[in-house]
Symmetry: C2
Subunit: 678 residues, 2 copies
C-alpha cells in the first residue's frame, strides 16, 4: 500500500467535500434589502486588505526565497545550489498554499455570513448549518492542501529538508498573516466598542458607527484567514518534523496513513454534524469533535492491526490526541460561561476594573499549569512508550503524538471558522435590520462559537508545543547529519543557558510589539470616529439616510496592520539568527527550549484570560452582577478590551512564532555550524 498516494486520495476527497459545501452554502438565499449591501461591503473590505497584505508578503517571500537559494542548506560558495533551488521552490509552494487557504476562507466566510443571517429567519438549525458548513469549507481545504502538499513533495523528492522548507513557507506566511489580521481585527473591534458601546451607548454593530464594517471585516481577516493559516502551518510543521525523524527509520508510511485517516475521520465528522431544531449549538460542536476523535482512534487501530504498524506508535498517537482534549477541556473550564472562573471574574468586576484585570490575569496564569503539564506528560508517555522499539523511535513517538493531536484538525478548523461566520451573521443581521428574533438566534450561535474558539486556541497552542519538541528532535537529527555528532543539549552548558534566557524573552517582546501595534492603531481609529461623529451632521442622532464613511476606518485598520505585521515576526527570526551566529547550535538549542516554554506559557495566559474576560462581560450582560450598564459591566468592558489583543492578536500568534523560529533553526543549522563566535 502506497500511503502517500492514499493521503493524496483522501486529500482529494476533502477537496470534493469542500467544493460540495461551498456550492451548498452559495445556493442558500440572501434576504433582500440592506443586508446584501452590508455583506458586499464586508467582502470588499476583506479582499482589499488581503490584497495589500499579500502584496507586502510577496516581497518578503521573494527575499527569503532568494536567501534560500543563496545560503540554505548549503551556502552557494560551498557547492551546488541545486538542493537550494528545490528548497526555495518548496518554500514558495508552502506560502502560496497558505495564502490560498486564506483566500478560500475569506471567500466562503463572506458568502456564508449573510446566508446564515438570512437562514436564522427559519430558525436556529438552518442558520447553524450555514455557519458550520461554511467553516467546514475552510477546514477541508486547509487540511486537504497541507496533506496533499506534503505527500506530493515526499513522492517527488523524499527529502525531509524540502518538506521543512515547505513548512517554513507556510509558517512564515502564517506568522505575518496572523499578526496582520490580528492587529486589523482588534484595532477595529476596540475602536468600535470604545466609541459605540462605551461612549455613546449604542448597540454593537449599530450602522451609525463608522468602524462597524471594519469590525466585521476584521472577524474575517483575523479569525478566519489568520486561524486557518495558523492551523495549516501547525499541521504541516507536525508532518515535517515527523518526516525528518521517520525517514531514517523507514516509518514515513505510518505518518501518511495516520494523517490521512485523521482527515478521513474529520470528513465523516463534518458530514454528520447536525443540530436539532431546539438543540444546543455548543453541544453539537463538541459532539462532532468527540465523535471525530473516536473515529480516528478506531480507524488507526484497525489500520495498525491490518498493516502491522507497531501498536506503541498508535498508542503515542492516541496519547497526543487525548492531551489535546485535556487542553481543550482546560480552556473550556477557564473560559466557559457556566463555570466558576467566569462567575468569579464577573463578581470581581463589581469591585472595579483593577480587580477585573487582576482576577483575569490570575486565572489566566493558573490555566497554564494543566495545559503545560498535559503537553509535558504526552511527550513523556509517548517517548517512554516507543523507547523500547529502538534508537530514534522515542522521538518518533513524540512526533506522532503531535500528529495525533492534530489528526482531527479538519474538524477543529470547521468549528473554529464557524465562530467568526456566525459572529458576522449577527453583525449583518443587526445592520440589515432582520429583527430581534434573528438577533436572538445569531447571539446564541455566537456564544457557542466563543467557547469553541477558546478550545481551538488551546488545541493549536498544545499542538505547537508537541510539534516544536519534535522539531527540536529534527534539529538534532539535522545537526547529526551535518556533523556526525549527536548534539547533547546540556542545560549546564552556559551557551545553552544563554540561549534559553534570550529565547524565553522573545515571545514576551513579540507579544508586546503586537499589542502596542493594536494600541497605536485603535487610538488612531478612535480619533477618526470622533471626527466623523463631530463633522457629519445627523450621524450621531441616526437620521434616516445619513451614513458614516466606513471606508476611512477600513483604511486605517489596513494601513496600520500592514505596517505593523512585519516587525515583530522579523524580530523573532533575526533574534534566532543572532543567537545562532553568537553561540552556534548549542545556543540555538537553548534558545528554542526557552522560546517554547515561555511562548506556551504566555500563549495560554493570554488566550484564556482574554476568553475569560470576554465571557465575564457576556455573563454580566445576561443580567448577573447588575447587568448591562452597571458599574460592573463598565469594568467588564475594560477587561474585555484588555483581553481583545491578548486573545486575538498576541496570544494565538505566539504558537506560530514558536514554530517559525524552530523551523528557522533547523534550516540554518548548517550555517550556524559553519559560522559562530563561540
Amino acid at each position: 500500500m502506497n500511503w502517500a498516494l492514499f493521503a493524496i486520495l483522501i486529500s482529494a476527497l476533502a477537496f470534493i467535500v469542500a467544493g460540495y459545501f461551498y456550492r451548498w452554502v452559495s445556493k442558500l438565499p440572501v434576504a433582500e434589502g440592506p443586508l446584501r449591501h452590508v455583506g458586499m461591503l464586508i467582502r470588499k473590505g476583506a479582499f482589499a486588505f488581503l490584497k495589500r497584505e499579500y502584496r507586502i508578503l510577496a516581497i518578503f517571500v521573494g527575499v527569503v526565497a532568494l536567501l534560500l537559494v543563496l545560503f540554505f542548506p548549503i551556502p552557494f560558495w560551498m557547492g551546488s545550489i541545486l538542493e537550494n533551488l528545490g528548497m526555495a521552490a518548496a518554500y514558495i509552494l508552502g506560502s502560496v498554499l497558505s495564502a490560498l487557504a486564506g483566500v478560500i476562507g475569506i471567500s466562503i466566510a463572506t458568502i456564508a455570513n449573510v446566508r446564515a443571517a438570512t437562514a436564522a429567519r427559519q430558525g436556529l438549525a438552518p442558520s447553524y448549518m450555514a455557519g458550520f458548513r461554511g467553516g467546514a469549507v475552510m477546514g477541508m481545504a486547509v487540511v486537504g492542501s497541507s496533506l496533499f502538499g506534503a505527500a506530493v513533495l515526499y513522492l517527488l523528492t523524499s527529502d525531509p529538508n524540502i518538506v521543512l522548507a515547505f513548512s517554513f513557507g507556510a509558517s512564515s506566511l502564517a506568522l505575518f498573516a496572523k499578526a496582520g489580521g490580528g492587529i486589523f481585527t482588534k484595532t477595529a473591534d476596540i475602536a468600535a466598542d470604545l466609541t459605540g458601546k462605551v461612549e455613546l451607548g449604542i448597540p454593537e454593530d449599530d450602522p451609525r458607527n463608522p468602524a462597524v464594517i471594519a469590525d466585521n471585516v476584521g472577524d474575517n481577516v483575523g479569525d478566519v484567514a489568520g486561524m486557518g493559516a495558523d492551523l495549516f502551518d501547525s499541521n504541516i510543521a507536525a508532518i515535517a518534523a515527523a518526516m525528518v525523524i521517520a525517514l531514517p527509520l523507514g516509518q514515513v508510511d505510518l505518518l501518511f496513513c495516520f494523517g490521512a485517516l485523521g482527515l478521513l475521520a474529520s470528513i465523516i465528522g463534518v458530514l454528520t454534524a447536525r443540530v436539532g431544531k431546539k438543540g444546543n449549538p455548543g453541544a453539537a460542536l463538541n459532539r462532532g469533535t468527540y465523535l471525530t476523535c473516536g473515529i480516528f482512534a478506531v480507524l488507526t487501530f484497525v489500520a495498525s492491526m491490518i498493516y502491522h504498524f507497531d501498536l506503541r506508535l498508535w498508542g503515542a498517537t492516541v496519547v497526543g490526541m487525548v492531551a489535546g482534549v485535556v487542553i481543550g477541556l482546560t480552556s473550556d473550564y477557564f473560559t466557559g460561561d457556566n463555570r466558576k472562573p467566569v462567575a468569579r471574574v464577573a463578581h470581581a468586576c463589581e469591585s472595579g476594573p483593577a480587580f477585573t484585570i487582576l482576577s483575569g490575569i490570575s486565572y489566566g496564569l493558573i490555566s497554564a499549569l494543566p495545559s503545560l503539564a498535559g503537553i509535558g506528560a504526552a511527550a513523556l508517555i509517548a517517548f517512554k512508550l516507543c523507547e523500547p522499539m529502538g534508537a530514534g523511535y522515542a522521538m518518533l513517538g513524540v512526533s506522532m503524538s503531535a500528529i495525533g493531536m492534530l489528526a482531527i484538525v479538519g474538524m477543529i478548523i470547521s468549528n473554529d471558522a464557524y465562530g467568526p461566520i456566525v459572529d458576522n451573521a449577527r453583525g449583518v443581521a443587526e445592520m440589515g435590520g432582520l429583527g430581534e428574533e434573528v438577533l436572538k438566534i445569531t447571539d446564541e450561535l455566537d456564544a457557542a462559537g466563543n467557547t469553541s474558539k477558546a478550545i481551538t486556541k488551546g488545541f493549536a497552542i498544545g499542538a505547537a508545543g508537541l510539534t516544536v519538541i519534535a522539531l527540536l528532535g529534527a534539529f538534532r537529527e539535522i545537526v547529526y547529519n551535518a556533523t556526525g555528532q549527536t548534539l547533547v543539549f546540556d542545560m549546564m552548558d552556559p551557551l545553552i543557558f544563554f540561549g534559553m534566557l534570550i529565547g524565553a524573552a522573545i515571545p514576551a517582546v513579540f507579544a508586546a510589539m503586537l499589542m502596542m501595534g493594536v494600541n497605536r492603531n485603535s487610538q488612531k481609529m478612535v480619533a477618526e470616529i470622533h471626527r466623523q461623529f463631530n463633522t457629519i451632521p445627523g450621524l450621531k442622532e441616526g437620521k434616516q439616510g445619513v451614513l458614516p464613511d466606513y471606508d476611512r476606518c477600513i483604511d486605517i485598520a489596513t494601513v496600520g496592520a500592514v505596517r505593523e505585521l512585519i516587525p515583530a515576526g522579523l524580530m523573532a527570526i533575526v533574534a534566532t539568527l543572532v543567537v545562532g551566529f553568537i553561540g552556534g547550535v548549542a545556543a540555538v538549542g537553548g534558545f528554542l527550549a526557552g522560546n517554547i516554554v515561555s511562548g506556551l506559557l504566555l500563549a495560554m495566559l493570554m488566550s484564556n484570560a482574554g476568553g475569560l474576560w470576554d465571557n465575564a462581560k457576556k455573563y454580566i450582560e445576561a443580567g448577573h452582577c447588575g447587568g448591562k450598564g452597571s458599574p460592573a459591566h463598565k469594568a467588564a468592558v475594560i477587561g474585555d478590551t484588555v483581553g481583545d489583543p491578548f486573545k486575538d492578536t498576541a496570544g494565538p500568534s505566539l504558537n506560530t512564532q514558536v514554530t517559525v523560529v524552530s523551523l528557522v533553526s533547523s534550516l540554518a543549522a548548517a550555517l550556524f555550524i559553519a559560522i559562530s563566535i563561540f
Copy 2:
C-alpha cells in the same frame, strides 16, 4: 590568611556600624503632638503582625526541621542521622537569623519614620540622613549576619550541605515573609486608595481613612521586613552555591575574601553617603551605589594581586557586578519618571484604563529582554573566562559572578529600606499635621525611593537568576557525589522536558495565588471601610476628634495575610517534590531550568510594569496629561492598583520562590535518586 575569620571580623564591623546608626537615629528628636501617637500605632501594628506571622512560621520551621532530621540528606532507615541533626540545626539558625533581620528592620524603620518626618522641618538633607541611616541599619545587619552565619558554619563543619540547609532556612522564611508582608501591604494600600483617593477624593494618608495606619504598617512589614529577608536569603544562597562548588576546588578562601570585601565596600559607601542641602536625593543614592561598586572592584583586584587569586575569577566577579548595574539601569529606564516609557504610558491613560493596562504590560514584557540577556551574558562570560582554569572552575566562575552581583548588597538594602522609611515619613507627617513644607520634602524623598526600589528589585531578581544557575551546578555536584555520575541535563530527555514545562508553570500559579490573596483581602477591607464611613457619625466629614477604628483594618490585613502566606509557597515546594518523585533528578533539573526562566520573566514583567504604572500616575499627578482628577488620572490610578500586587506582592516574591525550589531540589537530591517512578 584565614579568610573565613576575616569575613567574621568584617561582619562584626558591620554590626558596629549598624549599632552606631541605630543609636544615631534613635537620638534624633520627634515632634510633639499627634505624630508620636501615629508613630506608636504603626509600630504597634507592625510588631503585632510580625508576632502572628512568626508564630505560624515557627510551626512551619519546626515541621521542616523534623523532616530534615528524619529524611535529609539520608533517610533515617539508611544510616546515622547525625548529619541530619546538623542540617536541621543549620536550617533553624538560617530561619531565626532571617526572622531577626526582619525584627531589626521593623524596629529601626518605625523609629526612623517619625524622626525623618521631624527632621524634614530642618530641610531635605537632615531628613534624608535619618531615612538613609535607618535603612543602613537594616543593610548592615542583614549582610553582616548572612556572612557571619555562613563563615561560622563553614569554620565549624566545612560541610556545604550544612550551608545549604542554612540557606534553605533563610529562603523558606523569606518566601513566607515576603508573601505575607506583600499581601498585607497591598491589601491595605489598595483598600486605602480605592476608598480614599478614588471614592471620597481625600488625600493619601488622610487620618479619616480607617485603612491609613494599616497602609503605613504595610510599608514596614512588606517592604522593610520582606525585602530584607529576601536579600538576606539571596546573599546566603549565592554563598552556599559558591561554597558547594568551591570546596572540592579548595577555593573557599576566595569566596569569603570577596564576600567580606563587598561588605567592607558597602560599609564605606554607607558611611560616606551624603546629600547636599539642595541636593537631589535620587542622585545621592545612585552615587553611593556606583562608589561602592568601584571600591569593591578595586579592593578585590588588589587582594587578588597580593594573595595570588586567579584574575579570571576576579573577572567573573566583576562581570556579575556589571550585569547587576545593567539590570538596574534597565529597571531605571522602564520605570524612571523622566524616561519615555512613563510618559508614553501616561499618554495612553488619556485613552482610558484598557490602554493603560495594555501599554504597561507591553513595556513590562519588553523590559524582560535586556535583563534576561544580561544574566545570560554574565553567566556565559564568567563561564568561558574561568573554563581554561580546569574542570569545575567554569561553574565556580558563574557562582562568583553571582557573588559579584550581590557584593554591594549592603548598599542596595540601605537604599531600599530608605524607601519605605521616607514613604512612612510622608504618611506620619500628613497625619501628624507637620505642614505643607514638610510634605513637599518628604514627597521628594519618597519619589527618589521609588526609583531606587525598582532598581533594587531588578538587582534582587538578577542575583537570584545567577545564583540559581550556580545552584543548578551545585545540584549536579551533589548528584555526582551521591551517584558518582555526572548528570547531563539533556533537554531532549523527555523527563527534562516534562519537568521544564511544569517548572515553568509554577511561578505563574504562585504569582496568581498571591494576587488572588490580595484581591480577596482588599475586597474585605474595602467593605470594612465602607462600614465605618457609614456607621461612625462625622467621620467622613472630618469632624474634630472623630477617629476611625484603625485596629479593625490592621486586623483584617493581618488575618488575611497570615492565612494566605503559606499555600503559595507550599505549592511550589510540593510541586518540586512531586516532580522529583515522578521523574527523578533529571526531571528536577528540567523543572529548575523551566522555573528559573519563567520565574525571571514574570518577575521582571511584574516589577517593571508595576513601577511603571506607579510613576505614570505620579507623572500625571505632577500636572501632565490633565493632572490630578482628570480622566487620565483615574485610568492611571487603575493601572497603579493593578501594579501594586504585581510589583510589591507577586513580582518580588518570585525570585525567592525560584531560590527555594532550587534549594529544596539540592537537599532532596539523594531522596529522588533513591525513590522515583521513572
